[in-house]
C-alpha cells in the first residue's frame, strides 16, 4: 500500500517535474490560454448577441436558424465541434486563417460559446420589464432604439455575472484545442503539459497545469458569486421600494 502511494506521488506529484515545466506553462501557456479565452469570448459575445436578437424574431425562418444554432452547438460534444471546425474548415477549402491552428481554435470555441452566450443574453433581455418596453414604444421609439436605450443597458447588468461565469468555462474548455496540434509558441497550458507528460512518461506536468487552472478559475468563481449575490440583493431592495 505504501508502495502504491509512493507510485502515485511519483506519477502525479513529482516536484522536480512540476518545477521544470512551470516556467514554460507560465510564460507561454498562461498567456496563450488567456488570449485564446478572450478571443473566443469576444467571438462568442458577438455571435451570441446576434443569435439572441434573432431568437425571438417574428420571422419563423430566422427564429428556426437561431434556435438550431443554439441547440446544435450546445448539443454536440465540444470536442467534435472543435474537430469539425478546426480541421473540417481547412479541409473543405475554407482555409480562412491559412494553417494558423490557433485562429481556428479560437473560432471553434468562439462559435460554441456563441450558443451559450445567446441563451445568457436572451435571459438578460427577457428580464427587462415588458411594460418599460411598451412605454418606450409608446413614446415613438423604434424597436432598435428600444433595444439600444432600454433593453441593452438594463440587460447588461444582469448578464455580466453569468457572462463572467461562462468565461471561466471557456478557460477550462480551451484545453481541448490541444487536439488541433498547436505550434510550440502557440501552445496553451494544457498542450504544454500534455507534451511534457508524454515526453517524460509522467503525469506531473498535468498536475502543474491543473494548479494553474485552479489559480485562474477559483478566485474568479468566488468573485462572480459575490457579484451575483450583490446584484440579487440590489434587485431585492428595488422590489421592496415599490
Amino acid at each position: 500500500m505504501f508502495a502504491g502511494l509512493s507510485r502515485i506521488q511519483q506519477t502525479f506529484f513529482d516536484i522536480h517535474m512540476i518545477a521544470r515545466v512551470m516556467p514554460s506553462l507560465l510564460t507561454v501557456g498562461l498567456p496563450n490560454t488567456i488570449l485564446l479565452a478572450i478571443l473566443a469570448s469576444l467571438i462568442g459575445i458577438v455571435v451570441g448577441l446576434v443569435i439572441a436578437i434573432g431568437l425571438p424574431s417574428r420571422h419563423l425562418s430566422l427564429r428556426l436558424i437561431c434556435r438550431s444554432y443554439v441547440d446544435i452547438l450546445r448539443g454536440l460534444p465540444h470536442i467534435l465541434t472543435i474537430y469539425l471546425i478546426g480541421q473540417g474548415l481547412p479541409l473543405a477549402g475554407l482555409a480562412l486563417f491559412g494553417s494558423n491552428t490557433y485562429a481556428y481554435a479560437a473560432l471553434a470555441i468562439g462559435l460554441i460559446e456563441g450558443a451559450y452566450m445567446a441563451e445568457i443574453f436572451r435571459a438578460g433581455m427577457q428580464s427587462v420589464e415588458r411594460g418599460q418596453i411598451e412605454a418606450s414604444r409608446t413614446l415613438g421609439m423604434t424597436k432598435w432604439q428600444t433595444m439600444r436605450y432600454i433593453i441593452m443597458p438594463q440587460g447588461i447588468r444582469r448578464v455580466l455575472p453569468p457572462l463572467t461565469g461562462q468565461f471561466i468555462l471557456v478557460i477550462k474548455g480551451s484545453a481541448l484545442v490541444f487536439l488541433l496540434g498547436l505550434t510550440a509558441s502557440q501552445r496553451e497550458i494544457f498542450s504544454i503539459a500534455q507534451d511534457s507528460a508524454i515526453n517524460n512518461a509522467n503525469l506531473s506536468p498535468l498536475t502543474a497545469a491543473g494548479l494553474l487552472y485552479l489559480a485562474l478559475t477559483v478566485p474568479m468563481t468566488y468573485a462572480v458569486n459575490a457579484w451575483e449575490r450583490r446584484l440579487r440583493g440590489a434587485q431585492g431592495s428595488m422590489r421592496g421600494d415599490e
Partner: protein, 245 residues
C-alpha cells in the same frame, strides 16, 4: 366627417386566441374632451386603449386619428405614437434612468432635440406636474405618486394630441390618488383630448364629457356622465354601479 372628432373607432374587433376581447367597438372621441371608460375587469378596456396606439392591433375595423386611418397599411406607427401619449397603471418608468432622463430620452432620440433643449423642456414639464427638484432621483427613490407624475410628464413632453390613461391611479396608495386625479383634471380642463380607463367614478362624473360602459368586449352604454350614472338603461350597468358605488 366632422372635424370635431379626434378619434373615431369603427367596428373594432380583437381576438386573443379563442377569446374575443373587443366586439364591434364603434366610438367617437370629441376633440378637447375627456371620455371615461368604465366596466368590470376583463371587459376589454385596456385592450381598447392599447389598440388606440397600436400596442395591440385590431383584427378588423378601423381607428381614425384626426381623420387618418392608423390601421391602414403604410401608416408610420412610430410617428403616430408621438401624437398619442399613454400612462400605465404601473408607471413603467425606465428604471436605469433618472427622472429627468426618463423625460428627455424620447425628446432627444425621437424628436431629435439637443440635450439642452430636451432638458429645458423636460424641466418645465416636470414642474408643471409638481415635480420640481427631483430630476436626479431614480424611479426607485420616489413614491408611487411621484413616479406616476414622471410618467405623465414623460408623455406630455412629446406634446401629444391625445392622452390615454389606463387605471393611472389603481396602483397608488389612497392618499396619493387625489394628486394624480388633480393633474389629470387640470389636463382635461386645458383642452386635452383624453381616453381614461378608471374606477374613480367621482372623477368620471366630474370631468368626463362622455362615459362609456364596457362589458365582455362590447360597449353596453354610452352617455353623458349624469345620465349614465343616474339613469342606467341596462340591468348590466345598474348591477355594475351597485357594486362599485
Amino acid at each position: 366627417m366632422s372635424s370635431t372628432i379626434a378619434v373615431k373607432f369603427s367596428k373594432v374587433s380583437k381576438t386573443y386566441g379563442t377569446t374575443q376581447v373587443l366586439r364591434d367597438i364603434s366610438l367617437d372621441l370629441p376633440r378637447g374632451s375627456t371620455t371615461c371608460v368604465i366596466g368590470p375587469s376583463g371587459s376589454g378596456k385596456s385592450t381598447l386603449l392599447r389598440c388606440t396606439n397600436l400596442l395591440a392591433r385590431p383584427d378588423s375595423g378601423s381607428i381614425e386619428i384626426e381623420g387618418m386611418d392608423i390601421t391602414a397599411a403604410g401608416t408610420d406607427v412610430n410617428l403616430m405614437r408621438t401624437k398619442v401619449g399613454m400612462v400605465f397603471q404601473h408607471f413603467h418608468l425606465f428604471s436605469h434612468l433618472d427622472v429627468l432622463q426618463n423625460v428627455t430620452l424620447a425628446l432627444r432620440k425621437v424628436r431629435g432635440m439637443s440635450a439642452d433643449e430636451a432638458d429645458a423642456r423636460a424641466m418645465a414639464q416636470l414642474r408643471a406636474v409638481g415635480l420640481g427638484g427631483l430630476e436626479r432621483r431614480r424611479p426607485s427613490q420616489i413614491s408611487g405618486g411621484q413616479q406616476q407624475r414622471v410618467a405623465i410628464a414623460r408623455a406630455l413632453a412629446m406634446d401629444p394630441a391625445i392622452m390615454l390613461f389606463d387605471e393611472a391611479t389603481s396602483a397608488l396608495d389612497p392618499e396619493l390618488v387625489k394628486g394624480i386625479l388633480n393633474v389629470m383634471r387640470d389636463l382635461a380642463i386645458s383642452g386635452m383630448t383624453m381616453l381614461v380607463v378608471t374606477h374613480e367614478m367621482r372623477f368620471a362624473r366630474e370631468v368626463a364629457g362622455q362615459v362609456v360602459f364596457m362589458d365582455q368586449g362590447r360597449i353596453v352604454e354610452t352617455g353623458l356622465p349624469g345620465a349614465l350614472f343616474d339613469q342606467p338603461q341596462t340591468p348590466r350597468l345598474r348591477q355594475f354601479l351597485d357594486q362599485v358605488l
